[in-house]
């Protein structure tokens, strides 16, 4: 064991670095989904579409900024701007027009409404952005690389990926935690998450909370997409693969648990990059294995609370 670490310790270090970078993105997408699920109890399949639309919008706005001759640093706020616009436009639209009509229905209907929406948005994306890969990598080029020593060698990493993304994720996590626990709106959201009936009985306007939370979740999804734009080429179908991973994160984390989402994202991100380094064939099943293992030990998810029904 000691020998193994001596030989592979440096590789493990690199894998950790990659894992943290990818965990940051996973977290950004999954936390929004988990927040929405915690409050609305709707597992939003269209979260994946919002991710994709956020990504495409970021590329469009970024490219527009570039062609308008704005300085290179403007590419970073372009990402944020895209996420805001997508979240603020689509979030309320979806909540008002669709979800609001089915809160009283069975959960499976709510799930399928978002599934239908996902199917519609999947083709709508194609109408707007076509099928050719779209990319906008200015922020990555702008920030350059950092060299990480590796034995006698150095490994260049994108500053954007190993520093900016984790920083944004940590800021989001802390910001969210503070918002939920220290502000009135946040506490109201938390109250609805923990006990919907009691919260409504206490006179909280659930509809307002739903609208707010969903819009916020949509913004987080779009932000996740926007932040992945600089490193990835966007093609039809990215929403589908993103959402299935986020599902795994939500179930593993525990419903509505933002710290759970962060820990799960870290486990998945690092698990996958370690797999790539030492056993690449396992990489793709890592999230699911983690989920099954966690639920075996903790059936309510990592940070989930056991819901006891009062008898």
């Amino acid at each position: 064991m000691g020998d193994w670490f001596e030989q592979n310790g440096a590789l493990l270090g690199l894998a950790l670095l990659d894992g943290i970078a990818s965990a940051a993105l996973i977290f950004m997408v999954a936390v929004g989904l988990n927040l929405v699920f915690g409050v609305l109890r709707v597992l939003n399949v269209a979260h994946g579409s919002l991710f994709a639309i956020g990504a495409y919008a970021a590329a469009s706005i970024g490219l527009f900024f570039t062609s308008a001759g704005l300085p290179a640093w403007a590419s970073l706020p372009a990402l944020l701007l895209a996420a805001m616009i997508v979240g603020l436009v689509l979030g309320p639209l979806i909540e008002r027009l669709l979800l609001r009509r089915i809160y009283s229905e069975e959960p499976v209907l709510q799930l399928l409404v978002t599934f239908a929406l996902f199917m519609i948005l999947e083709d709508a994306q194609k109408l707007v952005w076509g099928v050719q890969p779209v990319s906008f990598s200015a922020p990555v080029s702008l920030m350059g690389t950092v060299d990480v020593p590796f034995g006698a060698d150095v490994i260049p990493y994108n500053t954007y990926q190993v520093i900016l993304l984790p920083a944004i994720a940590v800021a989001t996590l802390i910001g969210l935690a503070l918002f939920l626990r220290r502000t009135l709106t946040g506490r109201v959201i938390l109250a609805v998450t923990t006990d919907r009936e009691a919260a409504t009985a206490m006179g909280i306007d659930a509809r307002k909370v739903y609208l707010l939370t969903f819009t916020f979740g949509a913004m987080l999804a779009a932000l996740g997409g926007a932040l992945s734009t600089p490193t990835a080429s966007l093609v039809p179908g990215i929403g589908a693969s993103t959402i299935v991973l986020s599902f795994a994160v939500v179930a593993t984390a525990g419903l509505g648990q933002i710290e759970g989402a962060a820990l799960t994202a870290l486990m998945i991100g690092i698990g996958r990059s370690i797999a790539v380094t030492f056993q690449p064939e396992l990489e793709v099943v890592v999230p699911y294995l983690i989920m099954v293992a966690v639920l075996l030990v903790r059936p309510q998810g990592l940070f989930g609370v056991v819901e006891t029904r009062r008898v």
């Binding site: 990598s137 693969s241 793709v284």
Partner: protein
Amino acid sequence: MPSSFQPTRRQALAAGFGSVLLPSALSAQAPAQRPSEIKIGVTTFLSGAPSVFGVPGRNAAEMLAEEINQSGGINGVPVRLFFVDEAPGIDHLVGEFRRLVQNERVDVMLASISSGSCLACTPLGEELRKVTLLWDCGTQRIFEERNYRYAFRTQANATPEILAPLLYLLKTKPDFRTIAVLNQDYAWGRDSWEIWKTAMDALKPGVRVVAELFPRFGATDFSAEVTRLLALRPDVILSTSWGGELDTFIRQAAERRLFERSTFVLPLAESSLERVGRSLPAGHIVGSRGDHWHQHPRPANPQALQRFVENYRRRYNAYPIYPTYHMAQAFSALRAAYAKAIAANGGNWPSDAQLAAAFPGLEFESPTSRMRIREDGQGLEPQLIGTTVHNDRFPFAVMDNMVVFPPEMVTTPAGQNSVNWLKTLTAEMVNRVPDPIRAG
């Protein structure tokens, strides 16, 4: 049944009773009337990641059909296209294939981008006795595992498409000792690596494979893989990836200077060149699944190539990429086959069987060269491989030092299994590689 379904149902009823009474075996051989239009079914990806190829393929088909119809059709008969999306899966595809053949009564099917689709459609076309042209899929298994009377391929297959870049590498940079592979985790990624590895072991034994990475199909981040490759420093990195994944891989590798440490061999990168722009540095090896290249150094018919490229660019605002050339080859082959079959039939319109009989040995023009379909149904297509270079004419990397491999050299001989044939290759083969041509 919804009432909006009416038109199809009416046609279906009319056509359907006919086929119940007349087994399709009979109708295939019956002397045919000259039809009012030639119906062509085209299966291609219209959604999902592979629509990166599928939609340009459809675009080319629509453009070509229009051109054919403007010039009076095929032997005076206009063509009409029916498209099928491959993305929903085999059961949908096979159902649509049947609908087009049995209900819409198409005259010919152009099948599939995905190898899985081809492997499902080809035997079905044979059962329904309908001419099926494999216009783009890569799998070499089709004609090596079975004989078909109605299926033909109007392009090469995975074996020449992978063997050619390997030979090019051995000719231009013969001194590599280590290699790593990063392919998409699906049949093409696995098959192409098996072909490369088998051929490499025969042509240059002793090369060490330091990493075999098969990230999930549709992956959007290769950071961990790039880290691994940076740490391993292989002499050569092979990737047969394509589409968004290849674009992402190239960008991430470029930003982290992986191109400075290893020579890349990217057999499908022609289709990404325009999109990745100058991210792809000079000095790396690029192929195009054939001899498709808008700057082909020695096209058989320079005017035809230029016309094709310019028309496509005018219409779709992008340079044509290999699936569009593949589509052009299928149309050209179809046109030539009709001419040949009509001639053989004393000027009368051919039946399905007569049309099928025209394909073995058929010669036809591609936008860049003259092609032939072998007796076993396999198309013989040259392979063009080059090294990237940056110049002032294009805002993206283009090919230089191009080698055009004659198809007979790199294609598995008829009746042989590719993997077995590759094992018999020897280092002497590299000496027969034609000399590179400098870009004009």
